[in-house]
């Protein structure tokens, strides 16, 4: 809150929903009608006149609600810049003023057409009563909106914090092993050592850059290729990777660093534990507007059941896909005795949030 630059998105500073949107207005009208029913129930018995009274009350409250929505829709650009406490007061005053004016107009108009039939209060009583009721309801509604927006905001912040924390987690084991490889190559093969340092730098840059909600598939696969090159230096012929991804559109958007950790897992939990190594197979295909990527690696029988690190990386990716695509993406794992396969499905051409 103290640092607006770090808030998750532009809109979160203001706690009001968009009153110009049809959905919001529908909800406003429903709530207004409930209020009308409540007020009528409180003031009248259910006998005889109830429905007539409800009709009058509804007419009054619904118009007020519509007018309020319209005012907030218009006023939003001005309110957006205010800090929450001030925005609360300003919005409250605007709506209260509007209610007063509306009550006054209603009284005058009904007076012309024979006040007694519709309003049975004196002028002052009517204004006082309506403004007391409206101020309580406005205050409650604003308080509700404020709390629920704070709640949504905290969830979003928490998710993002978790993402960046997890993303910073390039496996230390990999980092130190790579450094050791480079130290060794520095003497035996300086040219390759040089390439390895460059690759490692690029990989660290991609990792330290913090979470990117989306990158192109092309960029993500470049990071994966760099990672693969470094691991290849270390593992030699034990590591083979087969790519069958011609069908995938390289322009597709994907949350950054989601495929690289999958390969990292495949190597750490699969290839590295096999004396003869093995082949990681990455295949991709497209069905309609869905993209499927599948990565499988052989696993050693004796290492089965030691997958805790694996689960963490997977749940991180799952969380980020959920944030980016809602329930339109899925990640699943198929485990057999000697093969571990991760399948991800996500929409192509969706705007990522």
């Amino acid at each position: 809150m103290s640092n607006p630059a770090e808030t998750p998105s532009r809109d979160s500073q203001v706690f009001l929903p968009d009153f110009c949107a049809a959905g919001t207005i529908l909800v406003v009208l429903l709530v207004a009608e409930l209020v009308a029913i409540l007020l009528t129930l409180a003031a009248h018995t259910l006998a005889g006149t109830f429905l007539t009274e409800l009709a009058k009350m509804s007419m009054y409250v619904l118009w007020l609600a519509l007018l309020g929505s319209a005012v907030l829709c218009r006023a939003r650009p001005y309110i957006e810049h205010l800090e929450p406490a001030r925005a609360f007061v300003v919005v409250f005053l605007i709506l209260e003023l509007m209610c007063l004016v509306f009550a006054e107009i209603t009284f005058q108009v009904t007076a012309v057409f024979g006040a007694g039939a519709i309003i049975d209060d004196s002028h002052t009583t009517f204004i006082l009563r309506s403004s007391a009721i409206s101020s309580i309801i406005i205050a409650l509604a604003l308080r509700y909106l404020y709390i629920s927006s704070e709640w949504r905001r905290s969830i979003l912040l928490e998710a993002q914090a978790r993402i960046s924390a997890l993303q910073a987690l390039i496996r230390p084991h990999f980092l130190f092993n790579s450094m050791n490889t480079i130290a060794s190559l520095t003497r035996s093969d300086p040219a390759r050592a040089e390439e390895a340092v460059e690759d490692l730098a690029d990989l660290l840059r991609a990792n330290l850059g913090g979470p990117k909600d989306h990158t192109t598939l092309k960029e993500e696969l470049e990071v994966v290729a760099i990672y693969q090159r470094i691991e290849k230096l270390r593992l030699g012929d034990r590591l083979k990777v087969r790519w069958n991804i011609e069908e995938l559109p390289m322009r597709a958007l994907i949350p950054s660093l989601t495929i690289q950790p999958l390969l990292e897992n495949a190597i750490y939990h699969g290839i590295e534990l096999l004396p003869e190594g093995g082949e990681v197979i990455v295949s991709g295909r497209r069905t309609g507007d869905q993209l499927h990527i599948e990565m499988s690696n052989p696993v050693s029988k004796t290492s089965a059941g030691k997958k805790s690190g694996n689960k963490m990386a997977l749940s991180n990716i799952r969380q980020r896909f959920e944030l980016a695509y809602g329930n339109k993406a899925s990640i699943s794992v198929v485990e057999t005795d000697d093969l571990y396969t991760v399948k991800i499905v996500f929409p192509y051409g969706e705007n990522l949030s």
Binding site: N177, M179, N180, T181, A183, S184, S188
Partner: protein, 250 residues
């Protein structure tokens, strides 16, 4: 001193070799890419010190080190690791020598100077401290001076045989030094004691049979029954054997 280098990554082996050969104090007698190779080469080359990577496919470093104790003259061991928070804590706690990768020349020299033989008890304490599986995946037997590794999965039963223990597995039987008591403690989750002198793999038991003299004996899956007084189930263990068979998921 004669040194054997064991690491599954070629650049890591090269690096250690470079550093050791530079110093002139020690000789590298060979290098191995996995634990099994390491055991064979240790038996053959008789190094004084083995530099042993922890994370290796097949036999990992800790298990390899435990099997060294089956050798006539076990070598001293220094572990190498890139990053193993828990293992490093456990090494410190047990005063076991290790080097972190990337390897530093001074650190290597120091570790080699202090290298020592490791007892089975120390290694087991390290495995516990590191949260690693303490249970071996292989049993090491010496047959005519050669080392043989037997996968624990393949073992049908252990049987005490005078001062040795006979391991009976799919494909034969060998004698080992480990006592039934030690083996029972280590493999309690998959083996059951049926008698003072016999430990049987629960998954390989076919059924229990009554013998003519009123005792109960075990019939193994592969068909051959464990017969005679020695191999029948003793009264003291019968209830436990029944319980384990009942709990078996099959």
């Amino acid at each position: 001193m004669k040194i054997l280098i064991v690491d599954d990554e070629a650049p890591a082996r090269d690096r250690l070799r470079q550093l050791i050969e530079e110093s002139d104090e020690h000789v590298v007698v060979g290098d191995a890419g996995n634990g099994l190779e390491a055991l064979e080469m240790t038996a053959e080359l008789d190094p004084d010190i083995v530099l042993l990577d922890i994370r290796m496919p097949g036999l990992n470093g800790l298990e390899t080190a435990r099997h060294f104790n089956a050798l006539e003259k076990p070598p001293a061991v220094v572990f190498t690791t890139a990053y193993d928070e828990y293992a490093v804590d456990a090494f410190d706690a047990q005063a076991v020598g290790y080097i972190l990768k990337p390897v530093r020349r001074e650190r290597l020299a120091k570790a080699l100077a202090r290298a020592q033989k490791l007892s089975a008890a120390t290694l087991s304490a390290v495995a516990d401290g590191a949260g690693m599986q303490n249970r071996r995946q292989h049993i090491c037997a010496r047959v005519h001076g050669e080392l043989r590794l037997i996968q624990v999965e393949d073992i049908r039963y252990f049987q005490a045989d005078q001062k040795y223990t006979r391991v009976c597995f799919v494909g034969g039987e060998h004698l080992i030094d480990d006592s039934i008591k030690q083996l029972e403690a280590e493999f309690a989750d998959s083996f059951v004691r049926i008698h003072r002198s016999a430990l049987v793999a629960v998954s390989r038991i076919h059924s229990l049979e009554k013998t003519s003299d009123g005792h109960v004996s075990v019939r193994l899956r592969d068909g051959d029954a464990l017969e005679g007084d020695q191999l029948g189930i003793s009264r003291r263990h019968l209830a436990e054997v029944r319980r384990r068979l009942k709990g078996r998921a099959d």
